[in-house]
């Protein structure tokens, strides 16, 4: 873009003639950027480069504080963790650089692969279950009810009540959620086995957290989905609420039933939100740290973050951070895949 728009250019015609403004000496330009604008010489002000820099300086001025916070509290820990993953730091005063040793050890560590298998299972299953349930409940709340006079769509009876109830687990601390469910799943005194026994389904009573891998995975998935589904109900309800009513009316006039309306109208229109939710839930599932640490006995099942925590506890900080870095890569790759897979043209409405 060689020609400047008249509005941005200074009134001087000579400046416009010089194809984008005069060029001030670079040293002077730099100095001007660092000093307050009132010290800027006239000829520097006409420099196109100065105007660009001035704009960014303006934006950066507003963002300086948050950016500094971000750099100190987010970026620098990341970089430090990556750095420590190449050392044998164990909590002492020194950390020796060991190259890729930690990663090599990780590759050969069966315990890591066992935990990764569990984490990946959760990563695959938890978002599918949670999001499906979330979308279903949200649809029922916003458009699943009987048709009422004057309205194309309406929620089921008492939908505003359900919306609040679904959100309850989100309000509880995750540690409390895990403790409560630990009690529910308890083999001898748990609510689950107790109720199964009470209704005569003794055959279904199981030692849920008694050491069997599949049962423990089931229990973990249940709690993970239960505790997050409310959040997605609210998220998707909001997205569905933003869909114009006349689209539903049009679909209704065309004779679409509830299922058709959902798949042809609702789902495509909230797809962006679903994708975002998918990534978020995937990261939650990949973590699942608190639930597993508090609720599931070690010998039944272990997720990678718990394995990481145990390595930290043993003072193997270098190795533990290497596991953390691998988890970070996992999360990023997962996010990229979902972004790719779910990429559709955005529908404007």
């Amino acid at each position: 873009m060689k020609t400047a728009k008249p509005a941005e250019s200074p009134p001087s015609t000579t400046a416009r003639a010089a194809a984008g403004g005069t060029r001030a000496p670079s040293g002077l330009l730099l100095l001007s950027v660092l000093l307050p604008p009132r010290f800027t010489p006239e000829r520097v002000k006409r420099d196109r480069r100065y105007r660009t820099l001035d704009k960014y300086r303006f934006i950066a001025g507003f963002l300086a504080l948050p950016l500094a916070f971000y750099a100190v509290f987010v970026i620098s820990p990341f970089l430090q963790a990556i750095y420590y993953s190449f050392t044998d730091w164990d909590g002492g005063a020194t950390a020796d650089f060991v190259g890729l040793d930690n990663y090599r050890k990780l590759w050969n560590d069966d315990r890591f692969w066992d935990s990764a298998k569990t984490s990946v299972s959760l990563l695959v299953a938890a978002p599918v279950i949670t999001l499906s349930l979330g979308i279903f409940f949200a649809y029922m709340i916003t458009a699943g009810g009987r048709h009422r006079r004057g309205q194309a769509v309406a929620g089921v009876v008492g939908s505003s009540f359900y919306k609040v109830v679904y959100f309850f687990p989100q309000v509880l601390s995750i540690a409390i959620v895990a403790v409560v469910w630990m009690r529910v799943f308890s083999t001898r005194s748990g609510l689950l086995n107790g109720s199964l026994g009470a209704v005569g389904l003794d055959g279904l009573e199981k030692p849920w957290l008694g050491g069997d891998y599949n049962l423990a995975l089931f229990a973990t998935l249940t709690v993970l989905c239960w505790s997050f589904v409310g959040f997605y109900v609210v998220l998707f309800s909001a997205a569905m609420g933003a869909i114009p009513r006349d689209l539903y009316e049009a679909a209704l006039l065309d004779g679409a039933g509830r299922a058709t309306t959902f798949f042809k109208v609702t789902l495509p229109l909230i797809w962006d939100t679903v994708r975002t939710g998918w990534i978020y839930m995937g990261i939650q599932a990949l973590d699942a740290f608190a639930i597993v640490l508090v609720m599931v006995p070690d010998h039944a099942l272990k997720v990678t973050p718990v394995f990481l925590y145990q390595r930290f506890r043993e003072g193997q900080f270098g190795y533990a951070t290497a596991i953390g870095v691998v988890l970070l890569v996992f999360s990023v790759v997962f996010s990229l895949i979902i972004m790719r897979v779910g990429n559709r043209d955005r529908i404007e409405y």
């Binding site: 044998d88 164990d90 909590g91 002492g92 005063a93 020194t94 950390a95 020796d96 650089f97 190259g99 040793d101 050890k105 315990r111 630990m182 009690r183 799943f185 308890s186 083999t187 001898r188 005194s189 030692p207 849920w208 957290l209 008694g210 050491g211 508090v294 609720m295 006995p297 070690d298 010998h299 039944a300 145990q310 506890r313 043993e314 003072g315 193997q316 270098g318 190795y319």
Partner: protein, 476 residues
């Protein structure tokens, strides 16, 4: 390609720490002289006198961190108060936490640690690492110092055997000191055994099976264990390893020797327990993190006869224990006549560890605190508060003992010199907390064979042996 991340401040601190390490040597040379010869010492330097054998600086402040678990921290406050009374000018500060590592480890790394640390609980610091990093002070000087009660007897000589050994972690010296003695074994109700089942305590495994059979006929399970913490099984198995195969078997485990878990003695012990499982003598289903409480409650209610447990159980289960339960502990039964060690061999390590950080401001004060902990009156108070056996010899003689402690005392006396300690459990904690736990979780449900269990432990041993991140303790 090595580098060290040391800054100037660390160098200063480290030179101070080196100064501290030099002190014991100086002290040995001038045991009765007044100080002044060890300039490297930090602020805590005081005059060494008969009354103050460790040379504590009278007005130096003292900070103590206590693990706030089953033992609470009142027993320690007693000692901290003793310290406050003795050194009136010093300000004492005791903190209780469930998260020792979370609270203390960062301060160790920073070089600003408290003066006494009760390194205990689920969130304790890996002692091997702390010692390797020279973050714990050598307490040998304390052991050589005159004891609180009798200046003619060294602290070392007032303690039961094993205390110093437990604190070495393969290094020269002693860095961690335990205050209470734990007695592991088969815990039972004497009333149930002798009155309900009209049996004597089984001295052989055949007798054990016979008692279990008898119990089963009365609708009582012979055994139970906390399914959520299956590693408890070691408390009943470990002494049997030693009994069946002799000390070399358990030493091979300690020193991570190849084949340690493949020994015939190990196999026969696993097979013995496999029979218990196969005959359905074991009451299962105490899952989850509170498993041990659920299990102990079922046990005190008479649902099962024997539990693998430690001597803390008497205190932990006291709310549910009937008055006439007569809690007792028995040593593990002999397998057969070929056993290398006699019946009565007891797994009984000193427990509840304390350390003094090397970079603490008041290292000598920290040692003095421990010297007071090992006094007769602090030991008796410890027993009064939490009913554990202090490691101070004869400290609780003449006191009225609850049945579990009395039975423990008897078991210790019967064992004589046949006390065994699973050092690998302390040195390589992950082998116990993770590997052995995983193995027993499956084994006790009958989901893992004897061979698989032994192979898995053997593999874990090999893994730990070649893991560069784990400090190994060499045979000395």
């Amino acid at each position: 390609m090595g580098f060290t991340s040391v800054n100037r401040r660390d160098v200063m601190k480290r030179s101070a720490a080196v100064g501290l390490l030099a002190v014991p040597g100086a002290a040995a040379l001038s045991s009765c002289a007044t100080g002044g010869d060890d300039d490297g010492d930090k602020a805590e330097k005081g005059d060494k006198t008969k009354k103050n054998p460790l040379g504590v600086k009278e007005d130096a402040d003292l900070q103590v961190y206590i693990f706030n678990g089953g033992y609470d921290d009142k027993y320690a406050q007693f000692v901290t108060d003793m310290y406050g009374d003795r050194f009136g000018d010093a300000t004492t500060d005791q903190k209780a936490t469930e998260k020792i590592a979370t609270q203390v480890q960062p301060r160790l790394v920073k070089g600003d640690p408290p003066d006494v640390v009760n390194n205990s609980g689920a969130d304790n610091m890996n002692a091997g690492k702390v010692i390797k990093n020279k973050q714990a002070a050598d307490l040998t000087e304390l052991l050589d110092a005159p004891s609180w009660d009798d200046p003619n007897v060294k602290v070392r000589d007032t303690l039961i055997p094993g205390v110093e050994e437990m604190g070495a972690f393969g290094a020269d010296g002693c860095y961690q000191l335990n205050i209470a003695s734990t007695i592991y074994g088969n815990w039972y109700s004497d009333k149930m055994l002798t009155e309900t089942l009209e049996s004597d305590y089984p001295k052989t495994w055949d007798e054990m099976l016979a008692v279990c059979k008898k119990a089963k006929a009365k609708g009582i399970h012979g055994w139970t264990y906390p399914g959520g913490h299956p590693r408890y099984m070691l408390f009943s198995m470990f002494a049997m390893f030693a009994q069946a195969g002799g000390r070399e078997v358990i030493e091979a485990m300690d020193y991570l020797e190849p084949g340690a878990w493949k020994h015939d003695a190990v196999k026969s012990v696993f097979e013995a327990f496999e029979e218990l499982v196969a005959k359905k003598y074991v009451l299962t289903g105490f899952d989850g993190k509170e498993a041990h409480i659920e299990m102990q409650t079922a046990w005190t209610k008479g649902k099962a006869l024997f539990v693998p447990d430690g001597s803390w159980v008497e205190n932990e289960a006291k709310d549910t224990t009937p008055k006439d339960f007569r809690m007792a502990v028995g040593a593990t039964p002999s397998l057969d006549k070929g056993d290398k060690l006699p019946f009565g061999t007891l797994y009984s390590p000193p427990g509840e560890p304390f350390l003094v950080p090397a970079k603490a401001d008041n290292v000598r004060g920290g040692m003095e605190w421990l010297r007071m902990m090992y006094s007769r009156k602090a030991a008796r108070n410890l027993f009064k508060q939490v009913s554990v056996m202090p490691v101070v010899k004869g400290a609780i003689d003449g006191m009225s003992l609850p049945p579990g402690v009395a039975s423990s005392q008897k078991a210790v006396k019967a064992a004589g010199k046949n006390i065994v300690i699973a050092f690998w459990k302390e040195w390589y904690r992950e082998m116990f907390d993770e590997d052995f736990n995983n193995v027993m979780g499956k084994f006790m449900l009958g989901d893992m064979s004897v061979k698989e269990a032994m192979d898995t432990m053997e593999k874990a041993t090999a893994r730990v042996a070649k893991d560069p991140d784990v400090e190994k303790v060499k045979r000395s």
